[in-house]
Symmetry: C2
Subunit: 316 residues, 2 copies
């Protein structure tokens, strides 16, 4: 099963009254710096603080009554977990969230705040998967993968529908890539709406499975990725990789320093709190890894959830 523009339009109709239509923001200073017209799609201002809300709401509200009743399950400690908990609460069904018992308190609190039922497990992939399987068998709940799921991909694509409604004449869209759910949704929507638009992905060089896979023409999973952009540690799936190969024009990588600089610049100049993963697209501009000069460029700020106790530029 794959995803087409019509699925994304259907997702948008399904979710639009349950999410924010996030604003597109601009900065004269950052335009001057880049020599381009930059249009920031502010998914950090999305409900629950990240774009993951779109895919989660689409997946949860796409279930039949019968499917929905036993609830949903996922294993994630990040934005998808909080978004899925919120979506399930909105529909009045349980969300079982499998989290490693080492998960940061702030992430546990966030899932709880949105009404998720947390099931702790050992901090290994095996434990996460077996715990999820057991929950599914015991409860009949539906597993909602953070990105390898057509309903989730279609939901994420809705951000590009809104961006291109607001700014129809974009020439280039920059999108971060981790597991590829957001990127593939954005690429399918953008190319479907405007075939001439260029879609470029930006990835941390220390978690560069997508860039290497794209160059090699075959899926090369990450081995021990380490980046401050903790939302982008995951590897592509066959499904997201196939869509990316078909619809994405290129993937560039950025340094850790570039990510931190991009994040701080957005905070200082635009007064917007973005998380490291959320600033990765703009890092591609700062590090001049993509040619933006003179263009009208959409930049996705994907999320704004992070621990404010210590900031990345204070760690070095």
């Amino acid at each position: 099963m794959t995803v087409q523009l019509q699925d994304i339009r259907a997702a948008h109709d399904r979710i639009r009254d349950k999410i924010h239509r996030t604003p597109v923001m601009r900065s004269a200073s950052l335009n001057d710096l880049a020599g381009a017209q930059l249009f920031f799609k502010c998914e950090n201002l999305q409900k629950a603080g990240a774009f993951k809300t779109r895919g989660a709401v689409n997946a949860v509200f796409g279930l039949t009554e019968e499917e929905a009743r036993p609830g949903v399950v996922t294993h994630s400690s990040g934005n998808h977990a909080a978004a899925l908990a919120r979506a399930a609460t909105l529909r009045g069904i349980p969300a079982h969230i499998v989290m490693p018992k080492t998960a940061p308190a702030v992430k546990v609190a966030s899932v709880r705040r949105y009404g998720g039922k947390i099931v702790f497990c050992e901090p290994t992939l095996e434990a996460r998967e077996s715990t999820s399987q057991r929950l599914i068998s015991n409860t009949g709940a539906t597993f909602i993968h953070p990105y390898d799921d057509v309903r989730v991909i279609a939901g994420q694509g809705t951000m590009a529908v809104e961006l291109l409604e607001d700014i129809p004449d974009l020439e280039l869209i920059l999108c971060p890539v981790g597991g590829g759910g957001q990127l593939s949704g954005v690429a399918v929507a953008s190319k479907g709406i405007s075939p001439k638009i260029q879609v470029m992905a930006v990835e941390p060089s220390r978690a560069d499975d997508a860039a290497r896979s794209f160059a090699a023409g075959r899926l090369i999973p990450s081995v021990d990725p380490r980046t401050i952009a903790d939302g982008l540690l995951t590897s592509l799936s066959d499904r997201t990789f196939a869509l990316i190969q078909k619809y994405v024009d290129g993937i560039v990588t950025v340094s850790e320093e570039g990510i931190v600089n991009a994040m701080r610049t957005i905070w200082e100049v635009m007064k917007l709190v973005v998380e490291p993963s959320g600033a990765v697209s703009y890092a591609g501009v700062i590090e001049r890894r993509v040619q933006v000069k003179g263009k009208r460029v959409g930049i996705i700020l994907s999320g704004g959830n992070l621990d404010l106790d210590v900031l990345p530029w204070q760690i070095r």
Copy 2:
């Protein structure tokens, strides 16, 4: 000379194409916490990062050609200085900014970036005033006070015109108070547009000259105010106090801890960078110093300029 609604409307016509019409943002989580409908007027997203841009642009563009030619002068090391520098550069005239030689590098850099000519002086009020006087005598430039100036007050009032255009049925507006330029402009505009609206000021308890003056019915200047809300250290002038007595319904004070909590909450939940002074209105809600329950409340987030190297909650 005083300020009336018509002056504020004229200011709005004069400045609207030179400033941002800042968005009004909402948060379901903060509404739930407060038991009220909160509407945040985001002056942290204003050009140059603070509402001061409104008053500065109105003052600079209100000058005749002949008055404007020699430029403008102010002594300030804060948001007014940067805003005045930007406004003067926009009109193509010089802005002479008198700053104490002890001013933080980040503030010096900001004024320079906007094209201001900095004149350093000793860090005393006497030195600031005598240096300004000398500049005025030598250059013929016009002094633009940060708040004790009808053009500046009228400019600041334009934020309330926009807020009430966007959300006409507000019952209460919360506004910080330092020198009173913003508060008096906002109060004149709000009461002029909607006489039944309640306008409450919020002030740091460690810089509470406005609250004490309001209670006593006579101007009581601050003695050695110390607060993290460094934009609110100044004392009212006769002019701003007269307007506040006439149009403001009450002044409450908030603790330093309340200001820091309010600021952090806005960063975490709304993903907006506000400076301590900018979070003072919302601190009045957090510390329950104003009765908001069940009301539709406008909250002014006045600015977002601060040094990101060390954050207030990291100091304690």
